[in-house]
Symmetry: C2
Subunit: 251 residues, 2 copies
C-alpha cells in the first residue's frame, strides 16, 4: 500500500491474511512492514498468517502508514524459518529499505560477500542484498535523486528478471517500487470513494465514511483483494513506482 | 536475557513493562528484540510499554529465544518517534545486531557519513552505527572470532564511555554484551530453581516447574526485576559478555 495520507491497512490485511493458509496455500510464514515517519515497524512470523497471533494484532491495532509491504510465503528456496521470512529490512543512506519477492530466481547465484549480506538462505534476501550492494557501488556516499534511483532499480530489475521469476515490492519509505514478472495488479482509491467488498472474507467497508476527498490510496497485490473494484494488471516486465498513491512507469 | 536453551521472557517482561509508564517514568516508547535462530523479531512502539497493544501481545505470546534485548525509553536526545525507539537493528557479516542504550552521550559528535548511518536523531543509534563502522573498518570482510570481537567492543566502549553515560546491551544472536556506566545488574537462574517474585507486579512463578536441570538463564536489568533473588551489580566501567547464560568479564 502507498498513500498520500497515513492510512491503516486493516481492511486489506483482513483479506490478505486469509490467503496465508486459508483461502490460499502461502502458509510458510508471513510478514508486514509499516513505515512511520522515518521509522519502520517490521513484524515477521514463521507461523501462517491465518493462525498467527501477530496477524491478529495487526488486524486489531490500526497502524497508520504511507507505505506498507506485506508478504505471505510459500517456501521454494530456504526452509521455513524466521530468517527466511519476508519482508527483509536493511539501512542505506540513513533510511530503512524494505523488500518482498514472489517467485523463484532459478539462475541467480547469491554471493555471501560485500557490504550487505543475507542472514537467511532465500534467493529473495540475497537478491535484495545484491540490489543494495549495486546501489552503494553506483552512488557511494550520496543518496541519489528519485529519478536516478528509479533508473538504477530499473536496470537491476532487468538483470534479475533474466534469472527467474521476479515479482517484487521495494520501499525506502518515500517511494514504493513494484516490479511485475508474472502477476501483479493494483487499484487506486480516491474520491468519490465507494463501498468495497473483500474477495477472501465476507466483509465490506464504505470508504466514503472513513476518508477525506483529498485522500489517495494505492493497493498493489498479486491477485486483486476486492471483487467490486477495477484493478489494473501491471504488464510483465513493467516496473512502477508509487508515490503519494500515484503510479508512474519507470524506464 | 541470555540463555542456554530457548526461553520465553513473559515473566520478566511483565515486570519490566510496568516500568514503562506505571512503576517508573520511562514512557517515551519501548521495544524488544528476540533472536530466533539467525532471524530476529523486533517490536518497537512509540507508545508507552504500559499501554502498548504490542506489549500485550508479547505478554500473551510466549516467544522462545536465546537472546532478548528490551528497552523502555525516557527521551533525552531526539523526540518521541518510532525511528528513535530502541532497540536498533542492523546487519553485519550476515548477522543481525541489536543495540539498546541507557544514558546520554553528552560529548559524542555523531557523524552522518559512513556505511552505517542513523535513521533517527538519537545519540544512541548514532553510537551503535559508530560501533558497526569501527568493526567493519577493523575486520573488513571477515567476521572476527569471539575473542577478537570482545576486544574490539571493549576498546570502543572505553572510548564512548569517556563521552557520557553509556550503559548498553548489544547482541549478535550468539553473544550478549552488557556495559555498565552507572547502573546495571544481573541474575543467573539455574538448578535448583526456586519460586521468584516480581518487584513491579503482584506476580510470582515457580521456575522449578517450568525448567529442566540443565537450563541456565541470565537476566540483566538496570534495576533488579525480582525481590527474592541475589542480583549482582556490574561494576561501573565493566563490560560483560553473556553466552549460554554465563557471564564473563571482557578485557
Amino acid at each position: 500500500m502507498n498513500c498520500n495520507v497515513p492510512t491503516d491497512i486493516v481492511f486489506s490485511f483482513t483479506g490478505f491474511q486469509q490467503r496465508g493458509g486459508r483461502t490460499d496455500d502461502h502458509a510458510d510464514g508471513w510478514g508486514i512492514a509499516f513505515f512511520e515517519g522515518r521509522g519502520c515497524r517490521l513484524y515477521v512470523d514463521s507461523a501462517s498468517a491465518a493462525d498467527s497471533p501477530v496477524a491478529q494484532l495487526v488486524r486489531s491495532y490500526p497502524i497508520r502508514s504511507l507505505n506498507v509491504i506485506a508478504h505471505i510465503r510459500k517456501a521454494t528456496r530456504g526452509p521455513v524459518a524466521l530468517e527466511n521470512t519476508h519482508p527483509f529490512m536493511r539501512e542505506l543512506w540513513g533510511r530503512y529499505w524494505i523488500f518482498a519477492h514472489n517467485g523463484t530466481l532459478d539462475r541467480f547465484e547469491a554471493r555471501s560477500q560485500g557490504r550487505f549480506r543475507p542472514v537467511g538462505s532465500t534467493d529473495s534476501e540475497a537478491a535484495f542484498c545484491d540490489l543494495l550492494n549495486a546501489l552503494w557501488q553506483r552512488f557511494g556516499d550520496t543518496e541519489p535523486s528519485g529519478a536516478d534511483l528509479g533508473g538504477a532499480v530499473r536496470e537491476w530489475a532487468n538483470r534479475m528478471a533474466a534469472l527467474g521469476s521476479f515479482n517484487f515490492l521495494l520501499s525506502n519509505g518515500a517511494q514504493l517500487f513494484s516490479h511485475c514478472a508474472t502477476r501483479l495488479s493494483y487499484v487506486v482509491r480516491q474520491a468519490p470513494f465507494t463501498r468495497v467488498r473483500l474477495a477472501d472474507a465476507d466483509i465490506d467497508v464504505d470508504f466514503s465514511a472513513v476518508t477525506t476527498p483529498a485522500d489517495r490510496v494505492a493497493v498493489i497485490a498479486t491477485v486483486p483483494l476486492t471483487t467490486n473494484e477495477e484493478w489494473t494488471s501491471i504488464e510483465p516486465g513493467q516496473l512502477l513506482v508509487f508515490e503519494d498513491g500515484e503510479p508512474r512507469v519507470v524506464g
